[in-house]
Symmetry: C2
Subunit: 159 residues, 2 copies
Protein backbone atom coordinates (compact mmCIF):
# COMPACT_ATOMS: atom_id res chain seq x y z
CA UNK A 1 0.00 0.00 0.00
CA UNK A 2 1.34 3.40 -0.87
CA UNK A 3 2.27 5.53 2.11
CA UNK A 4 0.23 8.68 2.46
CA UNK A 5 -0.39 11.53 4.90
CA UNK A 6 -3.82 11.42 6.52
CA UNK A 7 -4.11 14.96 7.85
CA UNK A 8 -2.28 17.24 5.44
CA UNK A 9 -1.98 20.97 5.98
CA UNK A 10 -2.79 21.43 2.27
CA UNK A 11 -6.33 20.14 2.95
CA UNK A 12 -6.90 23.29 5.01
CA UNK A 13 -5.48 25.97 2.68
CA UNK A 14 -8.18 28.45 1.61
CA UNK A 15 -9.57 27.66 -1.87
CA UNK A 16 -8.02 30.71 -3.53
CA UNK A 17 -4.50 29.55 -2.60
CA UNK A 18 -5.06 25.83 -3.20
CA UNK A 19 -4.09 25.74 -6.90
CA UNK A 20 -0.32 25.22 -6.53
CA UNK A 21 1.01 22.81 -9.16
CA UNK A 22 3.08 21.11 -6.45
CA UNK A 23 0.67 20.86 -3.53
CA UNK A 24 -2.68 22.44 -4.41
CA UNK A 25 -5.60 20.08 -3.89
CA UNK A 26 -7.59 22.03 -6.54
CA UNK A 27 -4.95 21.82 -9.33
CA UNK A 28 -6.20 18.93 -11.48
CA UNK A 29 -2.84 18.50 -13.23
CA UNK A 30 -0.48 18.92 -10.27
CA UNK A 31 1.44 16.64 -7.94
CA UNK A 32 -0.85 16.95 -4.89
CA UNK A 33 2.00 16.79 -2.38
CA UNK A 34 0.57 16.28 1.13
CA UNK A 35 2.52 17.37 4.21
CA UNK A 36 1.79 16.35 7.78
CA UNK A 37 3.34 15.95 11.21
CA UNK A 38 5.30 12.88 12.31
CA UNK A 39 6.18 13.75 15.91
CA UNK A 40 7.94 17.09 15.73
CA UNK A 41 9.13 16.51 12.17
CA UNK A 42 7.13 16.82 8.97
CA UNK A 43 6.71 14.28 6.18
CA UNK A 44 5.60 14.28 2.53
CA UNK A 45 5.44 11.12 0.42
CA UNK A 46 5.44 11.07 -3.37
CA UNK A 47 5.56 8.34 -6.00
CA UNK A 48 7.06 9.79 -9.22
CA UNK A 49 5.46 9.03 -12.58
CA UNK A 50 7.44 7.48 -15.45
CA UNK A 51 7.63 10.87 -17.19
CA UNK A 52 9.52 12.40 -14.22
CA UNK A 53 12.76 11.01 -15.60
CA UNK A 54 16.24 12.54 -15.55
CA UNK A 55 18.40 9.80 -16.99
CA UNK A 56 16.20 6.74 -17.63
CA UNK A 57 15.65 4.94 -14.32
CA UNK A 58 16.19 8.00 -12.15
CA UNK A 59 14.13 10.92 -10.91
CA UNK A 60 14.39 14.36 -12.49
CA UNK A 61 16.11 16.90 -10.23
CA UNK A 62 13.40 19.49 -10.86
CA UNK A 63 10.82 17.17 -9.31
CA UNK A 64 12.99 16.72 -6.23
CA UNK A 65 13.37 20.52 -6.02
CA UNK A 66 9.58 20.86 -6.33
CA UNK A 67 9.00 18.32 -3.56
CA UNK A 68 11.46 20.17 -1.30
CA UNK A 69 9.86 23.53 -2.16
CA UNK A 70 6.29 22.56 -1.26
CA UNK A 71 7.40 20.45 1.69
CA UNK A 72 9.14 23.57 2.98
CA UNK A 73 6.14 25.89 2.75
CA UNK A 74 3.80 23.17 4.06
CA UNK A 75 6.10 22.51 7.03
CA UNK A 76 6.30 26.21 7.87
CA UNK A 77 2.51 26.41 7.75
CA UNK A 78 2.21 23.39 10.05
CA UNK A 79 4.71 24.92 12.47
CA UNK A 80 3.10 28.35 12.76
CA UNK A 81 -0.34 26.74 12.95
CA UNK A 82 0.82 24.57 15.87
CA UNK A 83 2.46 27.57 17.53
CA UNK A 84 -0.95 29.26 17.28
CA UNK A 85 -2.49 26.25 19.03
CA UNK A 86 -3.88 24.40 16.02
CA UNK A 87 -3.49 21.09 14.21
CA UNK A 88 -4.51 20.25 10.60
CA UNK A 89 -7.71 18.54 11.81
CA UNK A 90 -8.97 21.71 13.53
CA UNK A 91 -11.47 23.71 11.54
CA UNK A 92 -9.16 26.75 11.49
CA UNK A 93 -7.49 28.25 8.42
CA UNK A 94 -3.71 27.84 8.62
CA UNK A 95 -1.24 30.54 7.54
CA UNK A 96 -0.05 30.25 3.91
CA UNK A 97 3.67 30.61 3.21
CA UNK A 98 5.70 31.45 0.11
CA UNK A 99 9.25 30.36 -0.66
CA UNK A 100 11.95 33.00 -0.23
CA UNK A 101 14.81 30.68 -1.10
CA UNK A 102 15.47 27.04 -1.90
CA UNK A 103 18.66 24.99 -1.82
CA UNK A 104 19.06 21.41 -2.99
CA UNK A 105 22.07 19.12 -2.82
CA UNK A 106 21.79 16.03 -5.02
CA UNK A 107 23.62 13.33 -3.10
CA UNK A 108 23.01 10.33 -5.35
CA UNK A 109 20.84 9.21 -8.29
CA UNK A 110 17.24 8.75 -7.08
CA UNK A 111 15.58 5.55 -8.37
CA UNK A 112 12.29 6.35 -10.12
CA UNK A 113 10.44 3.23 -8.96
CA UNK A 114 10.73 4.19 -5.27
CA UNK A 115 8.26 6.21 -3.21
CA UNK A 116 10.05 9.36 -2.11
CA UNK A 117 9.86 10.56 1.48
CA UNK A 118 10.74 14.13 2.43
CA UNK A 119 11.40 14.71 6.13
CA UNK A 120 11.51 18.25 7.49
CA UNK A 121 13.09 19.75 10.61
CA UNK A 122 11.80 23.23 11.35
CA UNK A 123 13.41 26.25 12.95
CA UNK A 124 11.69 29.60 13.55
CA UNK A 125 14.10 32.33 12.45
CA UNK A 126 11.66 35.27 12.67
CA UNK A 127 7.98 35.51 13.73
CA UNK A 128 7.00 35.32 10.05
CA UNK A 129 9.89 33.24 8.68
CA UNK A 130 10.88 29.60 9.11
CA UNK A 131 13.87 27.61 7.97
CA UNK A 132 13.11 24.00 7.05
CA UNK A 133 15.93 21.48 6.68
CA UNK A 134 14.77 18.64 4.44
CA UNK A 135 16.09 15.16 3.77
CA UNK A 136 14.73 13.21 0.79
CA UNK A 137 14.80 9.42 0.95
CA UNK A 138 14.06 6.75 -1.66
CA UNK A 139 13.44 3.41 0.04
CA UNK A 140 15.27 4.61 3.17
CA UNK A 141 18.36 5.75 1.25
CA UNK A 142 18.94 9.50 1.43
CA UNK A 143 19.28 10.88 -2.11
CA UNK A 144 19.03 14.64 -1.59
CA UNK A 145 19.09 17.29 1.11
CA UNK A 146 17.57 20.73 1.01
CA UNK A 147 16.82 23.93 2.83
CA UNK A 148 13.84 26.21 2.38
CA UNK A 149 13.34 29.67 3.84
CA UNK A 150 9.58 30.19 3.90
CA UNK A 151 7.87 33.49 4.70
CA UNK A 152 4.26 34.19 5.58
CA UNK A 153 2.51 35.20 2.36
CA UNK A 154 2.24 38.99 2.36
CA UNK A 155 -1.27 40.52 2.38
CA UNK A 156 -2.38 41.08 -1.20
CA UNK A 157 0.47 38.93 -2.56
CA UNK A 158 0.94 39.49 -6.28
CA UNK A 159 -1.86 42.05 -6.51
CA UNK B 1 6.09 35.22 -32.01
CA UNK B 2 7.44 33.18 -29.15
CA UNK B 3 11.16 33.51 -28.62
CA UNK B 4 13.08 30.30 -29.07
CA UNK B 5 16.63 28.99 -29.23
CA UNK B 6 17.68 27.85 -32.71
CA UNK B 7 20.74 25.76 -31.91
CA UNK B 8 20.17 24.13 -28.53
CA UNK B 9 22.73 21.91 -26.86
CA UNK B 10 19.89 19.53 -25.96
CA UNK B 11 19.46 18.74 -29.68
CA UNK B 12 22.88 17.08 -29.55
CA UNK B 13 22.58 15.01 -26.36
CA UNK B 14 22.90 11.28 -27.11
CA UNK B 15 19.50 9.53 -27.31
CA UNK B 16 19.95 7.53 -24.11
CA UNK B 17 20.32 10.74 -22.06
CA UNK B 18 17.69 12.79 -23.92
CA UNK B 19 14.66 11.80 -21.79
CA UNK B 20 14.96 14.44 -19.06
CA UNK B 21 11.53 15.77 -18.03
CA UNK B 22 12.95 19.28 -18.08
CA UNK B 23 15.03 19.37 -21.23
CA UNK B 24 14.96 16.00 -22.98
CA UNK B 25 13.84 16.24 -26.61
CA UNK B 26 12.63 12.60 -26.40
CA UNK B 27 10.41 13.02 -23.30
CA UNK B 28 6.92 13.43 -24.79
CA UNK B 29 5.47 14.88 -21.57
CA UNK B 30 8.32 17.18 -20.53
CA UNK B 31 9.09 20.89 -20.79
CA UNK B 32 11.61 20.68 -23.68
CA UNK B 33 13.79 23.49 -22.32
CA UNK B 34 16.30 24.55 -25.01
CA UNK B 35 19.57 26.22 -24.07
CA UNK B 36 21.89 28.09 -26.43
CA UNK B 37 24.60 30.72 -26.58
CA UNK B 38 23.91 34.45 -26.71
CA UNK B 39 27.42 35.90 -26.93
CA UNK B 40 29.29 34.46 -23.97
CA UNK B 41 26.13 34.00 -21.92
CA UNK B 42 23.51 31.26 -22.25
CA UNK B 43 19.76 31.61 -22.68
CA UNK B 44 16.67 29.41 -22.26
CA UNK B 45 13.13 30.64 -22.98
CA UNK B 46 9.99 29.03 -21.59
CA UNK B 47 6.29 29.86 -21.70
CA UNK B 48 4.57 28.31 -18.67
CA UNK B 49 1.25 26.49 -19.08
CA UNK B 50 -1.85 27.46 -17.06
CA UNK B 51 -1.35 24.44 -14.80
CA UNK B 52 2.09 25.68 -13.68
CA UNK B 53 0.42 27.89 -11.09
CA UNK B 54 1.58 28.80 -7.59
CA UNK B 55 -1.00 31.33 -6.45
CA UNK B 56 -3.41 31.98 -9.36
CA UNK B 57 -1.74 34.36 -11.82
CA UNK B 58 1.81 33.45 -10.82
CA UNK B 59 4.32 30.77 -11.74
CA UNK B 60 4.98 27.81 -9.45
CA UNK B 61 8.40 27.98 -7.77
CA UNK B 62 9.14 24.36 -8.63
CA UNK B 63 8.93 25.20 -12.34
CA UNK B 64 11.37 28.07 -11.88
CA UNK B 65 13.71 25.71 -10.00
CA UNK B 66 13.38 23.20 -12.85
CA UNK B 67 14.19 25.86 -15.45
CA UNK B 68 17.26 26.91 -13.46
CA UNK B 69 18.34 23.28 -13.00
CA UNK B 70 18.26 22.33 -16.70
CA UNK B 71 19.57 25.72 -17.79
CA UNK B 72 22.53 25.07 -15.48
CA UNK B 73 23.43 21.64 -16.86
CA UNK B 74 22.82 22.80 -20.43
CA UNK B 75 25.04 25.84 -19.92
CA UNK B 76 27.84 23.72 -18.47
CA UNK B 77 27.58 21.39 -21.46
CA UNK B 78 27.75 24.34 -23.86
CA UNK B 79 30.79 25.72 -22.03
CA UNK B 80 32.84 22.53 -21.96
CA UNK B 81 31.84 21.80 -25.57
CA UNK B 82 33.10 25.23 -26.63
CA UNK B 83 36.27 24.77 -24.59
CA UNK B 84 36.79 21.56 -26.57
CA UNK B 85 36.41 23.54 -29.80
CA UNK B 86 32.79 22.78 -30.63
CA UNK B 87 29.47 24.54 -31.07
CA UNK B 88 25.95 23.00 -30.95
CA UNK B 89 25.76 22.91 -34.76
CA UNK B 90 28.87 20.71 -35.06
CA UNK B 91 28.17 17.03 -35.52
CA UNK B 92 30.01 16.18 -32.29
CA UNK B 93 28.44 14.74 -29.14
CA UNK B 94 28.66 17.26 -26.27
CA UNK B 95 29.46 16.29 -22.67
CA UNK B 96 26.42 15.58 -20.49
CA UNK B 97 26.29 17.12 -17.02
CA UNK B 98 24.36 16.34 -13.83
CA UNK B 99 23.38 18.78 -11.10
CA UNK B 100 25.41 18.61 -7.91
CA UNK B 101 23.58 21.49 -6.22
CA UNK B 102 20.93 24.07 -6.96
CA UNK B 103 20.06 27.35 -5.25
CA UNK B 104 17.11 29.59 -6.05
CA UNK B 105 16.17 32.98 -4.62
CA UNK B 106 12.60 34.03 -5.38
CA UNK B 107 12.79 37.81 -5.74
CA UNK B 108 9.21 38.60 -6.71
CA UNK B 109 6.00 36.91 -7.91
CA UNK B 110 6.47 35.70 -11.52
CA UNK B 111 3.48 36.46 -13.79
CA UNK B 112 2.27 33.29 -15.52
CA UNK B 113 1.34 34.93 -18.81
CA UNK B 114 4.93 36.03 -19.52
CA UNK B 115 7.58 34.09 -21.44
CA UNK B 116 10.40 33.38 -19.00
CA UNK B 117 14.02 33.97 -19.97
CA UNK B 118 16.87 32.37 -18.05
CA UNK B 119 20.29 33.93 -18.61
CA UNK B 120 23.42 32.10 -17.49
CA UNK B 121 26.94 33.28 -16.69
CA UNK B 122 29.42 30.42 -16.51
CA UNK B 123 32.55 29.90 -14.47
CA UNK B 124 34.79 26.84 -14.66
CA UNK B 125 35.61 25.78 -11.09
CA UNK B 126 37.27 22.43 -11.91
CA UNK B 127 38.03 20.66 -15.23
CA UNK B 128 34.81 18.64 -14.76
CA UNK B 129 32.71 21.15 -12.77
CA UNK B 130 31.10 24.44 -13.68
CA UNK B 131 29.25 27.05 -11.66
CA UNK B 132 26.41 28.75 -13.52
CA UNK B 133 24.88 31.95 -12.14
CA UNK B 134 21.37 32.33 -13.51
CA UNK B 135 18.94 35.23 -13.69
CA UNK B 136 15.29 34.56 -14.55
CA UNK B 137 13.29 37.33 -16.20
CA UNK B 138 9.58 37.65 -16.99
CA UNK B 139 9.08 40.39 -19.58
CA UNK B 140 12.45 41.94 -18.71
CA UNK B 141 11.72 42.05 -14.97
CA UNK B 142 14.02 39.83 -12.93
CA UNK B 143 11.91 37.52 -10.75
CA UNK B 144 14.45 34.97 -9.52
CA UNK B 145 18.16 34.28 -9.31
CA UNK B 146 19.91 30.96 -9.03
CA UNK B 147 23.16 29.07 -8.94
CA UNK B 148 23.86 25.59 -10.24
CA UNK B 149 26.97 23.50 -9.69
CA UNK B 150 27.04 21.05 -12.59
CA UNK B 151 29.44 18.11 -12.85
CA UNK B 152 30.29 15.95 -15.85
CA UNK B 153 28.08 12.88 -15.67
CA UNK B 154 30.21 10.05 -14.24
CA UNK B 155 30.84 7.02 -16.49
CA UNK B 156 28.12 4.43 -15.85
CA UNK B 157 25.99 6.98 -13.94
CA UNK B 158 23.29 5.21 -11.93
CA UNK B 159 24.33 1.76 -13.10
Amino acid sequence: MEKQIKHAIQDQYPNDVAYCYGCGRLNDDGHHFRTGWEGDQTVTYFKPEAEHTAIPGFVYGGLIASLIDCHGTGSASLALHRKNGHEPLDDVTPPRFVTASLEVKYLKPTPIEATLKAVGTIEEIHPKKFKVIIEVFADDVQCASGEVIAAVMPEGFGK
